[in-house]
Symmetry: C2
Subunit: 136 residues, 2 copies
Amino acid sequence: MKKTTRRKFLQTTALASVAAAPVFASDNNKAKELFVHHVYFYLKNPGNEADRAKLIEGLEVLSKVPEIRMVHIGTPASTNRSVIERGYAVSWLLFFDNLEQEEIYQKHPIHLKFIEDYSHLWEKVIVYDSVGAKRG
Amino acid sequence: MKKTTRRKFLQTTALASVAAAPVFASDNNKAKELFVHHVYFYLKNPGNEADRAKLIEGLEVLSKVPEIRMVHIGTPASTNRSVIERGYAVSWLLFFDNLEQEEIYQKHPIHLKFIEDYSHLWEKVIVYDSVGAKRG
């Protein structure tokens, strides 16, 4: 194989693996157990965009905790049916490999500092922790 | 390179790409906007394991809707602090590229059939739809 052809082949191989591989899986496409930690933050000043932006700024720092496998920071979508809860200001969704990794995150200095610096902003949080297989 | 060495090299290359690639991203590590649809199902018969298993069976069929980018089917973790909601039976977490894709899912025949066949099992659902960037 010529050098350029070979490089191209490797690139293609690598991309193909990314496309075909389930997220985080290196175990031949088997469904992978994940710990999903989903927190919804309700602001003390609901609708205050400055407070929301400040909270998101804090979460961006918090997302550096190394045990976290995936982070999604969201705000309520425009969808609006009766079953949809829209009162929260920020959705904070994390994936961990397992419960133990989430426990390390809970006690991590970055997390403790986040609570210290930002908890004055929220009125309440609702947390859903769930475990199970990720598909597709 | 010998054939076996070469195969090993390709495998290593492929695994490395999977590990390094952000989920679904093929856009040079830029944060990717995602629509997160998270549904929590509360059974009519809470704690009924047969009903929960049946619902999960239905969700596994539902997960075939092609617009879905990622599926996680979960049950409450063993974590148990005051802010953690644990009354639901099944967590159904989906990623979509955007709102439009989620709307297609809502109206998809597989989804309508799922509601028809399984909605007798649940007492209520709570839905959180959020949009924002996925990091890491």
